[in-house]
């Protein structure tokens, strides 16, 4: 069905696919390429492990099960052509692009978008451009950012338990046949930077990029340490949302008119229209997801607004609590 730089995707049953991890490894948009024995298996089981953990926290992913050592069964999705990168500490292309030194802490973590196209060298892309070029919708951007921040919170705490610092990572998202946005692709040593908290030793794909050697040994070391964890970090994830309810343009807003007249009396003559609306802040005790957004839509339609006279808009985000 599809063959990428490190994985193949094959049709499975019931809207599912097989995600087959190969031993190939590449860097710098495919310019450096190699085969490393056991790499497919290492990334396959690491992805399965991390997807399982994310699922525990209510993050919706494409992962279903592991079929064999290098195959995952996943939901069939249409991959959104924009990668989301989340950075806790400066490294890699961020340092080159902005001329900053490696190792600076970024608080709150920074989120960047990259357009998936090797020929263009995966360029950094702004939200506005990605929406304009229809690579993703405004709603999808909002969800992808919130989910990425939630995933970051989980992974930072998780790796902290095995004394590793999550420097940065990349997520890909997919659209399901019923229109949900879920985390897709892989989450492994190939898609993140991990540094040992004590020694600063590199435990990720930078070992390959910088020819440091022992790539698989370090991937497997991270996996083994994760496997030995007896419990997961105690986190209570919550998603914030705000709903703005506005009177429709065709409906008279007496309160807005009174406010306008008051402004005019205060000598703000340049204003000719004031509309007052309502602001509803909602704290949701779940991780961000398409389902949550749908529930918020229902709440807005059934309670927060009266569709006859009012329109509403929903903003949803995830805040790191540290």
């Amino acid at each position: 069905m599809y063959s990428g730089k490190a994985k193949d995707v094959k049709i499975y049953e019931n809207n599912k696919v097989k995600l087959i991890f190969r031993d190939s490894i590449s860097a710098f948009d495919g310019e450096k390429k190699d085969i490393i024995q056991g790499k497919g298996e290492a990334n396959c089981r690491m992805s399965a492990k991390l997807f399982e953990i994310l699922n525990e926290y209510g993050i919706r992913t494409h992962y279903h099960s592991m079929l064999d050592n290098n195959t995952l069964i996943c939901d069939k999705v249409e991959i959104i052509p924009v990668e989301v990168v989340c950075r806790n500490v400066t490294a890699g292309s961020f340092c080159r692009r902005y001329g900053v030194t490696q190792g600076l802490e970024l608080l709150p973590p920074v989120i960047e978008f990259f357009y998936k196209d090797d020929e263009l060298y995966d360029p950094l892309v702004t939200q506005e451009v990605a929406i304009q070029l229809e690579w993703m919708t405004k709603k999808e951007v909002m969800l992808m950012k919130a989910v990425t921040r939630a995933v970051n919170t989980i992974l930072v705490e998780l790796f902290d338990m095995i004394s590793l610092q999550l420097v940065d990572f990349k997520l890909e998202f997919g659209r399901t046949h019923d229109g949900r946005i879920i985390v897709a692709d892989e989450i492994s040593g190939d898609s993140m930077r991990l540094w040992d908290k004590e020694t600063g030793e590199v435990k990720d794909k930078d070992r390959y990029r910088k020819d440091m050697g022992d790539v698989i040994q370090h991937y497997n070391d991270v996996y083994d340490k994760l496997s030995k964890l007896s419990k997961l970090p105690e986190l209570s994830l919550s998603t914030k949302a705000q709903v703005i309810v506005k009177l429709k343009k065709t409906v008279l807003d007496p309160a807005g008119e009174v406010t306008l007249r008051s402004l005019n009396r205060m000598n703000y003559q340049e204003i000719d229209n004031v509309r007052l609306g309502k602001h509803v802040f909602v704290n949701c005790l779940t991780a961000p997801s398409s389902e949550l957004l749908k529930n918020l839509n229902d709440m807005s339609e059934k309670l927060f607004s009266n569709p006859l006279i009012e329109d509403y808009s929903i903003d949803l985000w995830f805040e790191e609590e540290r």
Partner: protein, 229 residues
């Protein structure tokens, strides 16, 4: 024969309604939000006015999402009578048992005063004998501005569902007599079957001579008459 009167937190007109029903010798009982299972024991329901749940969010909407008002669905389907007064009318609209919505008065003021309303011809037995009369009746509300789409207003007119319109003493429906900005001076409407009536004015406050008018009393008398047959 027993009539229920709803009492939500913030409802403050239930005693006035009780007084009228007692005076007309009808058994009646207050119904609280959790009493929805009792609904089947009643022959008619009056949603009394006030400020249910502080009228937070929108007037009547929080009450409209309670089990009691949810259960009203079957009650209405079975063609039992429901009368929503003021906040009760707002609940019926927010619950979609009546079309439209009551929004802020154009004056942005709470209006408490006597008005005249013209009774139109409808299929509702609650308005029997009142057609084309003018009732002198008080209003007291902040959100009494009836709003609906042009198409729905036309439909209400065509189906003879506009029960009451604000008018002058000479029965002329004109903008000067419109206290709150309601489209087509609408003060009350009925559903298509005629068993649900919602109105902003207070018939219970115009049911005794000592209150200054008995024009509202006929609506309760009609209701009781209907329940007898």
């Amino acid at each position: 024969m027993k009539i229920g009167i709803t009492k939500f937190p913030g409802t403050n007109n239930e005693q006035d309604v009780t007084r009228v029903l007692n005076c007309l010798n009808v058994e009646n009982e207050l119904l609280y939000p959790r009493d929805y299972r009792k609904l089947k024991d009643f022959d008619a329901l009056i949603l009394a006015g006030g400020f249910s749940y502080g009228d937070y969010l929108r007037a009547g909407v929080v009450a409209a999402r309670t089990s009691l008002i949810d259960e009203l669905h079957d009650f209405i389907i079975s063609e039992k009578f429901v009368l929503g007064i003021c906040n009760g009318f707002q609940m019926l609209c927010e619950a979609n048992y009546l079309p439209g919505v009551l929004t802020t008065n154009t004056s942005t003021r709470f209006i408490s005063k006597w008005v005249n309303i013209k009774v139109n011809k409808t299929n509702s037995p609650l308005l029997k004998g009142l057609e084309s009369k003018v009732l002198r009746i008080p209003i007291a509300h902040y959100e009494g501005n009836y709003y609906n789409t042009e198409a729905s207003i036309k439909q209400l007119k065509d189906n003879s569902q506009i029960a009451f319109q604000y008018c002058n003493e000479k029965k002329v429906v004109e903008s000067m007599s419109n206290p709150n900005g309601s489209i087509a001076n609408i003060a009350g409407i009925v559903n298509d079957k005629g068993n649900v009536l919602g109105m902003m004015p207070h018939p219970e406050r115009s049911s005794f001579h000592y209150l200054g008018s008995i024009d509202g009393r006929s609506i309760f008398e009609n209701l009781i008459e209907e329940l007898k047959c």
